[in-house]
Amino acid sequence: MGSVTLGALSATPQQVADFAASSGSDGRSHLDVGYAREQFGGLVVQGALLAERLLSSAITTGVIDPDLRGSTIDIAFRSVVHTGELVTVDVQCDDEAATIVGTVDGNPVIVETVWPMREGSV
């Protein structure tokens, strides 16, 4: 199967603040505009928010079963995503795994791979 686009997402500063309140991802890179601009070029969307959005998109569209027992979810954060940036979500499945990739302007920013757990992998 080739790569299928599931959609696109972005997060506003308010959504990042709401997520911070419920998740504990409340560092200055997410909430302090002046600090985030100086250090990262703008407010940073939480990696955990992006990871759930990608996984939820794949579940909602039926690519991945919500009963994830026996699965390993490998998440690699390649670069920060700023509020307002549009992240395109693509998924590719083969016999081994489902790989969900978020890209900004064609560059991967998060790669989430869901595969069956291998014996002895924990």
Binding site: S29, A48, S56, R69, S71, D74, V80, V122
Partner: protein
């Protein structure tokens, strides 16, 4: 005077490899899951049925609670691997056990790695390997 209500900030130099931490976390209820999924932009808040979303159990708040500390500013996730061994039903008490497994300074970034286990009385739900990074 120090604010005794605020947890201390855990500095890189204070992190000791091999240290273990453990907490008994509050059960996650349906409303908590709905709030979490809505904050993520997910409209279907029943997506995971009567169980807690695995990535919700991997939230940084549980790591912070188990360490009883906040992070220095600028800390970011570098990556994580989450093995889903069992589902956690809503309303079930669970423990979060955290062990510092590695830390090393780099030229541009410093890294700290944790192994985290989420368990109930009956089963192990998740095993998480997490790597965090700060600018050096």
């Amino acid at each position: 005077m120090a604010d005794t209500d605020s947890p201390p900030t855990l500095l890189y130099d204070d992190i000791v490899v091999g240290t273990e931490y453990e907490i008994l976390a509050d059960p996650v209820e349906r409303d908590d899951v709905a709030r979490y999924l809505r904050a993520c932009g997910q409209q279907d808040v029943d997506l995971y049925g009567d169980t807690v979303p695995p990535l919700m159990l991997a939230l940084i708040k549980y790591l912070k609670e188990s360490l009883a500390a906040t992070w220095p500013p600028g800390g970011l996730h570098a990556g994580e691997k989450i093995s889903v061994l069992d589902r956690l039903p809503l309303g079930t008490p669970f423990r979060v056990r955290t062990r510092v497994v590695d830390k090393h300074p780099g030229r541009r970034h410093r890294f700290v790695s944790f192994d985290i286990e989420v368990t109930t009385e009956d089963t192990t739900c998740l095993h998480i390997s997490r790597r965090l990074t700060w600018a050096a």
